[in-house]
Subunit: 425 residues, 2 copies
């Protein structure tokens, strides 16, 4: 039985600060749960910060070589040097808890192999959905299920922007500015608004949920910056809400993984998730549809997941047990290219206000066997002599849709193909 | 390393049938997750059923004394003889997985003490919320949190009835009949509609979430059979939805636990949970608000939780480890009586259509320091010479409200106090 368990903290930014605070304030709760005290021994931080100076170090070696540090908590963020530090920590026989979605999405399989080889744990609940317990249920409580579908609102920044655009008819730029003012979006919002953040998280969720390895570059990704006010207006008219969904499905051993804006029916619970909240819907063959909802980011929710991971590892160390390998063995599964997707589409375009344009468009779709479910053609704009056409299709193959789109863009009467949005029902 | 793990199944009703089917169909998945095959060795069932006869027994001894049975799955339901069988199984050194909310709510603390003493596991994820992983997150993924509030729509039958009453203006009797036709309510629906089922589940949730022991008789309980069409009409008019909520709170070491119909604001996500679905909202100091949503009953969802519990225990057995005691030590915490509750109230009554009645009612409330937030008085019913008065109060103490109510009932001008419903915001 160990007398105490040592923690080394890498990074003291927003999340690191939260972990530091929670570890200090909750020392009694943590000790009671673990069975012995959990002591923060060193913090890697390059800046000068107002923390007990004996804890601070600028040299990662001080953590990696400290025999009194059992668990390394990595909250530096970004790929490098975080991945190298995690690797070295695992190689040195230290357990690792990380919130780093980029590192786990890109290097999770390799890092897990090292952890397994060294008999240590690598936990990363905080990397997806902040404090919402997601990986724990997928790895344990739902193990009896074959997971068929994951629908995830998993980026708070974009969900906040979409909520403002939908509820207040705000334009994208204004909504983004508002998000930045409130601290929900970074000065450079690219990672969030272009869907990259969601892509990393989906790669992790799909890998864990489907017991395979989905790499982030296998996830098709489209952001929300092309969405405009009319899209929300038509969505409402047609009974839909627009959300940036991270979608993963598996059927017949083939995986599908994509992040893009979608039309979802307004009466779906996911359509009602507003603001910076996250919601992850998982469908399993036994359990049916489950939804997990909560704050997906922020220092406190992320600390909740990190400290819980630390406690779980601490319990194993304190009781002298080998840390269980939580993953079922990963099976290689092919990921289907986006062009093979079959789904319904919403299509909005601006066309010249002249006879026969709709016929030309309908013909292009018909030639590709794309069947039209409904059409809205609104009165023309007198000033520009253009009209708006909105088309909802029946299920069609993405490849054919993209070809039809390219052909439409070449029509002289089509001023602009404004947006193509996939529909999930 | 064991060659195989033996399971004894007690009960082959709806849930037992689901477990039987899932164990047979998922044998490969389960074996892969556990590390060795998990074999169903015996089934206790008094009826004649079309199952391999060599598996069936009518004598519980055949399971309790079989050295090849490591895990007992109890799905008999009801308090007796289930609790006795579980106790004997634990005493014989067998691990137990149960879906039995009544047994766990009433005897959980005692059974866990036996399990701990014998070094075996007692798992009961399936006893609350069907296949929704709830106890796992509370026992592990949220361990770093102090849970302050649990709001749970945790009985599918009543939520189905309330949904029909709210959305279609159905009366209670008609909605109950519909639920019975669809198999969502039993022939004798008392346990569900009077809130007893929810009471058991809340006792379990509060015990696990607050690390204490809340006994079912400490949970204040009121069912939904008094609700009538006008309550739903006024709720809508005032911006609320009516739900049967199981509510547990803790603050300053004191616990509050109650099951009754409530007014909740219509824009709360919980207000949008319709039909037989369950949703459990948990609030922790670090993680903030979380919601878990899914099917709370049925053979398949319940099997999902049971098989996952079997896998977890199987993993421990197969790796030769001691099964971890999942619970933090239970602290005794007092449960506050309902009369000490402070909340807002909705009050609907029928009064004689004559001057001064509202003044009399307002005086009774005022005398008890109960402040009125809003009043709706609808036009009188000519035939009966009565009018309806609906009052929303500001927060008031239950004790004063009950006294005011008793006094109102004695007023000659008050024909009937139709309903008093608490408000949660």
């Amino acid at each position: 039985m160990k007398k105490s368990i040592g923690v080394g903290l890498m990074g003291l930014g927003t999340v690191g600060g939260g972990v530091f605070k929670a570890l200090s304030e909750k020392d009694r709760v943590v000790a009671e749960a673990v069975g012995c005290p959990v002591v923060l021994r060193k913090i890697l931080e390059q800046r000068s910060v107002a923390v007990e100076q004996r804890l601070l170090t600028k040299d990662v070696r001080d953590i990696l070589t400290d025999p009194e540090i059992d668990i390394v908590v990595e909250v530096l963020g970004g790929e490098h040097p975080a991945v190298d530090y995690i690797k070295e920590a695992l190689m040195s026989g230290k357990h690792v808890v990380t919130a780093n979605k980029e590192v786990i999405a890109k290097h999770g399989a390799e890092l897990q192999a090292i952890a397994k080889d060294k008999g240590v744990a690598l936990q990363f609940e905080a990397s997806v959905g902040g404090g919402i317990p997601l990986l724990l249920p997928l790895q344990h409580g739902l193990l009896a299920n074959e997971i068929s579908t994951i629908y995830a609102i998993i980026n708070g920044t974009t969900n906040y922007i979409l909520t403002r655009m939908s509820q207040e008819r705000m334009g994208f730029d204004a909504a983004l500015k508002k998000a930045q003012e409130l601290g929900y979006a970074e000065a450079d919002p690219t990672n969030d608004v272009e869907g990259r953040d969601a892509t990393y998280k989906l790669a992790i969720l799909a890998s864990v949920g489907f017991h395979t390895t989905v790499r982030p570059e296998q996830v098709y990704c489209e952001g929300i910056s092309r969405l405009a006010e009319p899209d929300f207006r038509y969505a409402k008219e047609l009974g839909y809400e627009i959300k940036l969904l991270a979608i993963a499905k598996q059927a017949g051993g083939v995986v599908e993984a994509r992040v893009h804006p979608v039309f979802i029916p307004e009466d779906f619970l996911l359509a009602k998730v507003s603001g910076v909240y996250n919601a992850i819907q998982v469908e399993g063959d036994l359990v049916g549809k489950l939804i997990f909802y909560g704050r997906g980011a922020g220092a406190q929710p992320t600390s909740s997941a990190i400290i819980s991971d630390v406690i779980a590892i601490g319990q194993s160390i304190a009781s002298g047990k080998k840390v269980p390998s939580v993953m079922r063995r990963a099976q290689p599964k092919p990921v289907r290219p986006i062009l093979e997707l079959e789904t319904r589409y919403y299509l909005r375009m601006t066309v010249a206000d002249q006879p026969g344009v709709l016929a030309q468009i309908a013909k292009i779709l018909g030639d590709r066997s794309i069947s039209i479910a409904s059409v809205i053609q609104k009165e023309a704009d007198m000033a520009t002599q253009t009209a708006t056409i909105v088309i909802m299709t029946h299920p069609a193959r993405e490849e054919f849709m993209q070809r039809a789109l390219a052909e439409m863009k070449r029509l002289p009467a089509v001023t602009e193909v404004c947006n193509l949005i996939r529909v999930e029902e």
